[in-house]
């Protein structure tokens, strides 16, 4: 792997070494020996092999379309949805291939994803077989939201914390392989499943699996898509669109007392080096990628590696462990935010291309705080601006509109308040009926 900046991307996760923190998630890119070899040649640090099921006749996939998609401008793929099941190739074939590839690439991480019925014996049996391949660890797929769930597996397990704990316990009892529990996001609170995994003895969690979704409806046939002979079903959603959801879940697990410290492999929309850095800053030790590889091919890892390496060198981080979790303490509850922190939008007239989007957004839907002159000069009215950031978000020119922090002693022209030395959160705020004005004025938890 080209590592032109000399930053050390080497990653150790549960004692499993890989040359970089970029693993391919369990999915079509990791379903076959040919793919995985190509992936390793392209530079991926590790793979989680496509989920294996019990011995015997393999599952059957639909033979009609299995993907749907959401596009951004220029048909850039933002979200992908699938109704694929676990591997549809025989168990023995997969196991043989895993052993061969691991033997030829001893420096790459090889994790085997598993999903068998919710009984102890099938789990014991398959673990023994996986151990023989020389794989570095197992990932328990408690996430697949379609097809397998109807058979009492996948998210049907992942949605019931008691089942997670029970199955994880069996796995830990019957094998010494490091055990990663892959969580489904199709629940109300991720902490339940994460806590159950921990209680069952999981060495780590990985998240997220795909999100229940319908990506489009065919208005001629009046059927959801992808459409199989006139009918459709919900699929699993992934890709750039799901990253914010995944990041929140990762952060919740990383900062919550009961689950903090449980190693995390982050999944969900990782597309560039920056996405990886963000997930890791929130507490993940490494990342897994599926959709980006499926969209752009295995070569994307080269940009991920060079970008992360450049950024680490610029920041002076010597290893990925240096910045893992650095942003976790900054994730807090709303009630701990500083309500006396005031900013105002500021438009850089040199950068402004005079599209007027900020004006439309603020005038029509926010706080009427942008003025437009006859000759299309846009300026912010400090006495109206609530600092919502919408203008920044809709401006097509990055960095043209910025938020300026008012220093202590300045007056907020909108409220007339002088920015105080002391900070008040909601917990101290006079408008809060249950506020205690005497509480310590420290933010955070």
């Amino acid at each position: 792997m080209k590592d032109l900046y000399g930053a050390n991307l080497h990653s150790t996760f549960l004692g499993i070494e890989s040359p970089n923190p970029f693993w391919l998630a369990s999915a079509p890119p990791t379903d076959k020996e040919v793919n995985v070899r190509r992936a390793f040649e392209a530079g991926w640090g590790g793979v989680v092999w496509k989920t294996l099921g019990e011995a015997g006749p393999p599952v059957v996939n639909v033979s009609g379309p299995r993907y749907g998609a959401i596009f951004g401008a220029d048909r850039r793929l933002l979200g992908l949805n699938n109704i694929e099941l676990i591997t549809d190739r025989p168990l023995e074939v997969n196991l043989e291939e895993i052993a061969r590839v691991k033997r030829d690439y001893p420096d790459r991480a090889m994790i085997v994803s598993l999903m068998v019925p919710c009984e102890e014996e099938p789990w014991r049996k398959i673990l023994k077989e996986v151990e023989l391949t020389g794989a570095d660890g197992v990932e328990l797929n408690f996430g697949c939201p379609h097809g397998m769930a109807e058979r009492g597996m996948g998210s049907a397990v992942g949605q019931v914390p008691e089942y997670i704990e029970m199955v994880t316990g069996w796995v830990k009892k019957h094998s010494n392989l490091p055990c990663i529990v892959k969580l489904t996001p199709n629940i109300t609170n991720i902490l339940g499943p994460a806590g159950a995994a921990k209680a069952g003895g999981a060495d780590a969690v990985s998240l997220i699996n795909t999100i229940n979704s319908i990506t489009s409806v065919n208005l001629e046939e009046m059927s959801p898509e992808p459409m199989i002979d006139g009918m459709g079903t919900h699929g699993g959603y992934c890709g750039p669109a799901v990253k914010p959801i995944a990041m929140n879940m990762v952060a919740e697990i990383a900062r919550n007392q009961e689950t903090a410290g449980l190693p995390i492999s982050a999944i969900g929309g990782v597309t560039t080096w920056r996405d990886a850095a963000e997930f890791m800053a929130l507490g993940a030790s490494n990342v897994q990628v599926c959709t980006a590889a499926m969209t752009y091919g295995f070569k994307v890892v080269q940009e991920m590696a060079s970008g992360l390496s450049q950024w680490m060198a610029e920041k002076g981080y010597n290893s990925t462990a240096d910045f893992v979790g650095m942003a976790t303490p900054k994730v807090t509850d709303w009630q701990h935010l500083n309500l006396d922190y005031v900013t105002k939008a500021e438009i850089n007239q040199d950068d402004c291309i005079k599209c007027g989007r900020c004006f439309a957004a603020c005038e029509d839907t926010s706080h009427q705080a942008i003025e437009m002159s006859e000759d299309r000069v846009f300026t912010v009215k400090d006495d109206e601006c609530v600092a919502c950031n919408l203008c920044v978000n809709v401006c097509p020119v990055e960095g043209c509109i910025t938020m300026r922090e008012l220093p202590v002693g300045d007056v907020d022209e909108r409220t007339g308040m002088t920015i105080p030395e002391d900070k008040r959160t909601w917990l101290q705020h006079p408008n809060n009926p249950s506020a205690d004005p005497n509480t310590c004025i420290i933010r955070g938890q």
Partner: protein, 442 residues
């Protein structure tokens, strides 16, 4: 006293100083961060991308553009330099419209390619401060490189990187070859050629000896004896003759000399140019001479080419550029005689047409007023050093080996490939790899 475009004869200062700086400023001003992001976003990250195939140095174009799109142009620059150490100059001078951008799938889709050349410049400009490579441990091997043009520089850099000690000999007082003396001014502004050479040499291990010409004090025998390997990258030193009456008259000049004088001038307002200028030829040199004569203030400039427009070596983009600057392009006309008393006053052409037996004069002739004529009808290899030739160039294998053991050649002086900066870089690099393998293979 001040001259204007109408002043007869060959005089300096036809324009005001503002016009000079406007005319010779960057042809494509650099992209700013925002423009680069928007342009990079158009790339589809094609698999086995056609642009990569079309680039003679095989730069991983989709990868470097994605690196720009994800906010790491410095990493993008490294992706470029990995394949092409003169990626900065190539970004400025490559006829991208006939290379990478021609085959861009968005050219196919919308007639508007991703602006690969401009993006390459954006990325490389970010990494021209400190030299990005370190040398490998010394191998104790010594290699002589003749010619400090793109071929020689690229070869020397790759060899130095691999730990060999290199001596470059160049006949001229300044390094860079045609990057320094040939490329049109508006493609390489702010002394970029010299800055790039300095940046490239700062890898260390390359000893540059200027004013040393092979054939004049240096000879191949001694180089071959004194060094472990020799690379010849001396370009094309000779020029073709018109072969028409009156060619010897005053002010009938080689376009390359005119361009080289222009490139070395520190004050363009002191550089004389004719009122009526005629350029003969149909390649990049002809276009560059014609355009720059016009930009210096010549009242009218005609570029005359003996065949049809479709046969011109200058790309459509270059032709359009010339036309947009006011150069009149005349095709299917061949020079018959230069008229004038001592110095040229008129030049006479015969019209031609393509026939089954090749190009034929039609019998019709015409004359153009001319007080300056520039010949741009091709350059030739000077001394072939006794090596086997192919056509009129030194014969080389794919990896640059000549007919003589221990001697490699590349760039314009060697057979194969187009006469382009980027081709010279590729050939220099590939020869360096082969020299390295040969020397280290024992």
């Amino acid at each position: 006293m001040s001259n204007s475009q109408h002043t007869p004869g060959i005089v300096p200062g036809r324009l005001n100083s503002e016009a000079y700086s406007d005319n010779f400023s960057d042809l494509h001003p650099p992209l700013d961060d925002h423009e680069a992001r928007v342009a990079a976003d158009r790339c589809y990250f094609c698999h086995d991308a056609p642009c990569m195939e079309a680039c003679p140095t095989s730069i991983d174009i989709p990868l470097f553009i994605r690196q720009i799109a994800t906010g790491t142009p410095e990493a993008a620059a490294m992706t470029i330099f990995e394949q092409n150490i003169l990626g900065g100059m190539c970004a400025r001078v490559c006829p991208t419209e006939t290379l990478c951008e021609e085959v861009c799938v968005r050219e196919t889709a919308e007639g508007k390619p991703v602006v690969i050349g401009e993006l390459q410049r954006y990325a490389t400009d970010k990494r021209m401060d400190a030299h990005p490579y370190k040398r490998a441990a010394s191998t104790g091997k010594k290699v002589a490189v003749v010619g400090a043009g793109p071929a020689g520089l690229s070869c020397a850099h790759r060899l130095a990187m691999k730990g060999h000690d290199v001596v470059i000999y160049d006949a001229r007082p300044k390094a860079g070859g045609l990057n320094e003396f040939g490329i049109a001014s508006y493609k390489s502004t702010n002394d970029f050629a010299a800055r790039e050479v300095e940046w490239l040499l700062s890898i260390g291990g390359i000893d540059l000896k200027l004013g040393k010409a092979l054939g004049n004090g240096l000879n191949l025998e001694t180089l071959a004896a004194d060094f472990d390997a020799v690379f010849l990258g001396m370009g094309l030193a000779g020029v073709n003759a018109l072969g028409c009456d009156g060619e010897e008259k005053d002010n009938v000049l080689d376009a390359v000399d005119f361009i080289s004088e222009l490139r070395q001038s520190t004050d363009l307002s002191t550089l004389p140019v004719g009122r009526h200028v005629v350029v003969i030829g149909g390649g990049m040199t002809a276009v560059d001479a014609a355009v720059q004569a016009k930009l210096l203030g010549a009242e009218d400039v005609a570029l005359v080419y003996r065949r049809g427009q479709d046969r011109m070596n200058a790309s459509l983009f270059e032709q359009d550029l010339a036309a947009s600057k006011g150069v009149r392009i005349i095709t299917h006309a061949t020079p018959k005689a230069v008229h004038g008393n001592g110095a040229v006053r008129e030049i006479e052409f015969a019209y031609t047409k393509d026939t089954a037996d090749g190009l034929k004069e039609t019998g019709e002739t015409f004359r153009l007023p001319a007080d300056q004529v520039f010949k741009a009808i091709g350059q030739t290899l000077g001394d072939g050093q006794g090596l086997s030739l192919e056509g009129r160039k030194i014969r080389v294998s794919d990896s640059g080996r000549t007919s003589r053991d221990g001697v490699w050649a590349g760039g314009d002086c060697a057979s194969g490939g187009d006469d382009l900066t980027v081709t010279a870089v590729a050939e220099g690099r590939d020869a360096a790899e082969d020299i390295h393998n040969t020397l280290m293979g024992g």
